[in-house]
């Protein structure tokens, strides 16, 4: 095992701990699912590992894309904020790096993201982001304690029930994504 990387807003690679599929051996069905998962899937060790259970990856990729990229509803940047907060709590360095970069692309707020990485989820935030991160953290750490009272701060910043659901789905999706990334491989510094 290599030394654990620190949280970073720089791009990092991911190395699989198990044998990935050789693209030359892929079935037409596996190729199709890789192509609809994400543009880089055919060269990604993560997707070339997951595609070995093709039925599950097909469903998961369609779900992921609907949750993170679906139109309208909670602004995409705030779904990314939910993903970053979840990844920070779970300790997923790879996911945090990717989704910090997405948030910065969408909002141009690199300082905010750097503080979230360096100081953690308790770093000072404006009220709207504070409410979003607080819900993400509680849902990540102790889902068994969630009640309707936990939705109140989200309503106070103006989220509709549909937007609350969008946030919860992003956080839940990263409960899923973090666990795959953290337990089937590890982040690595990019080879230049």
């Amino acid at each position: 095992m290599t030394t654990k990387l620190k949280f970073t807003a720089e791009p990092v690679d991911w190395v699989a701990w198990l044998d990935t599929l050789d693209l030359a051996d892929a079935t037409p069905e596996q190729i199709a699912v890789l192509e609809e998962s994400t543009p880089t899937a055919k060269t990604s060790p993560y997707y070339l590992l997951l595609v070995q259970d093709v039925d599950v990856l097909r469903e998961r990729s369609k779900l992921y894309n609907a949750i993170m990229y679906g139109p309208r509803g909670l602004p995409r940047a705030e779904r990314e904020l939910g993903a970053v907060a979840t990844s920070r709590v779970n300790g997923c360095v790879y996911c945090a790096s990717v989704h910090v970069q997405r948030f910065i692309q969408l909002t141009k707020q690199p300082e905010l993201m750097q503080r979230l990485l360096d100081e953690g989820v308790d770093t000072p935030l404006e009220p709207r982001y504070r409410a979003i991160v607080d819900y993400a953290v509680k849902l990540t750490r102790t889902p068994n304690t969630i009640t309707k009272a936990d939705l109140e701060p989200l309503r106070q910043i103006g989220l509709t029930d549909a937007e609350i659901l969008d946030l919860a789905q992003a956080v839940a999706m990263f409960a899923w994504a973090n666990r795959l990334m953290q337990t089937l491989g590890e982040p690595a510094l990019p080879t230049k």
Binding site: M1, W17, L18, D19, L49, L50, Q52, D53, D55, V56, L57, R58, E59, R60, K62, L63, N65, A66, I67, G70, R72, G73, N90, G91, C92, L139, T140, P143, N144, I146, T147, K148, D150, L151, D161, A162, I164, L165, D166, A168, Q169, V171, A172, M173, A175, W176, A177, N178, R179, L180, Q182, T183, L184, E186
Partner: protein, 177 residues
């Protein structure tokens, strides 16, 4: 178990999240969920692919339901635990084995392969950041191939998703009866 590949997103009768959250198909909250039909469809599709595949490869249906019951217990969600306990009973799994899953690693002894799987379940659910390559080697030593480890990992991680979605939908349902 119904196969959902052809079901429409508007069909909520077989939707596990709505059923467990007590959401009626014609309710306001079901309509809010249906604003993202692909999320509803592929949440259920993921459930079907992981917990009710027509032709399970690698992990048996009973092994999958044992994993699910274990995650539900670790997350402290009684509704989900009841759901998967019922599934195990329907699959003909004995009460003593079910108790072994719920009380793991105390309680009635389980077969070594299932015990190895449940150790992995506990780690990934409670402390995913503590996993190492050696833990995957331990699974391989119990006969799990790469594909089976992929399926198992997807299953455990999906259940972390499912419980978080369920508690939020349930909380929203308290104000959208």
């Amino acid at each position: 178990m119904a196969h959902t590949a052809t079901s429409s997103p508007e069909t909520t009768a077989n939707d596990v999240i709505n059923t467990l959250a007590g959401i009626a198909p014609d309710s306001a909250l079901a309509a809010i969920r249906a604003l993202r039909p692909d999320v509803v469809r592929h949440t259920q599709g993921s459930y079907d692919a992981l917990l009710a595949p027509a032709e399970p490869v690698g992990l048996t249906l009973a092994e999958r339901a044992k994993v699910a019951l274990r995650v539900a217990r670790l997350e402290g969600n009684a509704t989900l635990a009841d759901h998967y306990r019922h599934q195990l009973t329907q699959l003909g799994v004995h009460g003593e084995t079910i108790a072994g899953v719920e009380q793991f690693p105390a309680g009635p002894t389980l077969e070594p392969r299932v015990a190895a799987i449940l150790h992995h379940v506990d780690r990934l659910t409670n402390e995913p950041g503590s996993a190492t390559q050696a833990h995957l080697a331990a699974l391989q030593a119990h006969g799990l191939c790469v594909r089976e480890i992929v399926t198992l990992s997807q299953l455990i991680a999906f259940l972390s998703y499912q419980v978080r979605l369920l508690v939020t939908v349930t909380a929203l349902g308290e104000e959208n009866p």
